[in-house]
Point group: D2
Chain length 101, copies 4
Amino acid sequence: MNAIIDLSIFPMDKKGESLSPYVARVLDVIRASGLKHELNPMGTCIEGEWDEVMRVVDACFRELEPDSDRIYLTIKADCRRDREDGMNAKVRSVRNKQSRP
Amino acid sequence: MNAIIDLSIFPMDKKGESLSPYVARVLDVIRASGLKHELNPMGTCIEGEWDEVMRVVDACFRELEPDSDRIYLTIKADCRRDREDGMNAKVRSVRNKQSRP
Amino acid sequence: MNAIIDLSIFPMDKKGESLSPYVARVLDVIRASGLKHELNPMGTCIEGEWDEVMRVVDACFRELEPDSDRIYLTIKADCRRDREDGMNAKVRSVRNKQSRP
Amino acid sequence: MNAIIDLSIFPMDKKGESLSPYVARVLDVIRASGLKHELNPMGTCIEGEWDEVMRVVDACFRELEPDSDRIYLTIKADCRRDREDGMNAKVRSVRNKQSRP
């Protein structure tokens, strides 16, 4: 099944520090996967087959694990049979129905 | 405090139908608030003072309430003192730290 | 509309400290509201009318705001017309359908 | 790393039906895993090593996939090195710090 997830993942034991270096490392891992993705201010959307997407989530966790003692993450997933290019289609579909596009 | 939230809200009792008309109505409400916002494939990021942002969440709920018997919503919020233009700053800060920008 | 939410809220700037004192303060605020609620290992479920529940969310935020510079929160809400005692009903309904109760 | 997650997963294409039979099937899968878990009104908390917990998430998805065309899920995870019996410890730790236990 096609899956689109929104992933937020960050260490919780780096509190004086900015979290952006950790988010940047996670984004490098996502990019290396080759899956379609899109950074937003609160997370990163990733699209692929369920298996592929969950492998990337695991890789993101592995990236932070060696130098973190506590990691927080949230995932929101919308999985749909027979969908392709879902990230673009979802946004386009909403835009087309707004009162003023 | 400055708040950036990611909001997803949709009726759960419209299951044969596409949800995009409902998301479009919600997005119209968000736009009417005048707050900075950004649609993504899994939700909409909204930025403002905590009070302002929560008033918009309430307005989105009110928009769907009259013709929905069941509504599901998720909110993820990052609130920070003395931050301005946080949505742009967060994304820029991550981009600047990636191995290949 | 009857709303059941799962709320997690914690300061992100308390380096090295346990978060449980903050969660305890939030739980005191929730309890003071008089609304039905239930602490779980990852959040607290709260049930009431949409307005009542959102007022409690705001009160929880106000509790942490004075001594936090950064607050993270997640809300997951299931809102349903004409439902009463939804927290108990939802759990009971699932239990009744398990293969071995 | 020890992981505690809160998982919600349900089909989005079951118009008019109660979702509890699907949640019951998911709960049976979680129980079969042998991992510590706890149903709450908005999801199920599961505790184990990161790998174990993510295998259960995958098994829950596989349970619903054959007869669902659209699946929605949310995960919230708190992962911590050198923690054991975290679900009980977290709740106890908060209870001990409340103003009236």
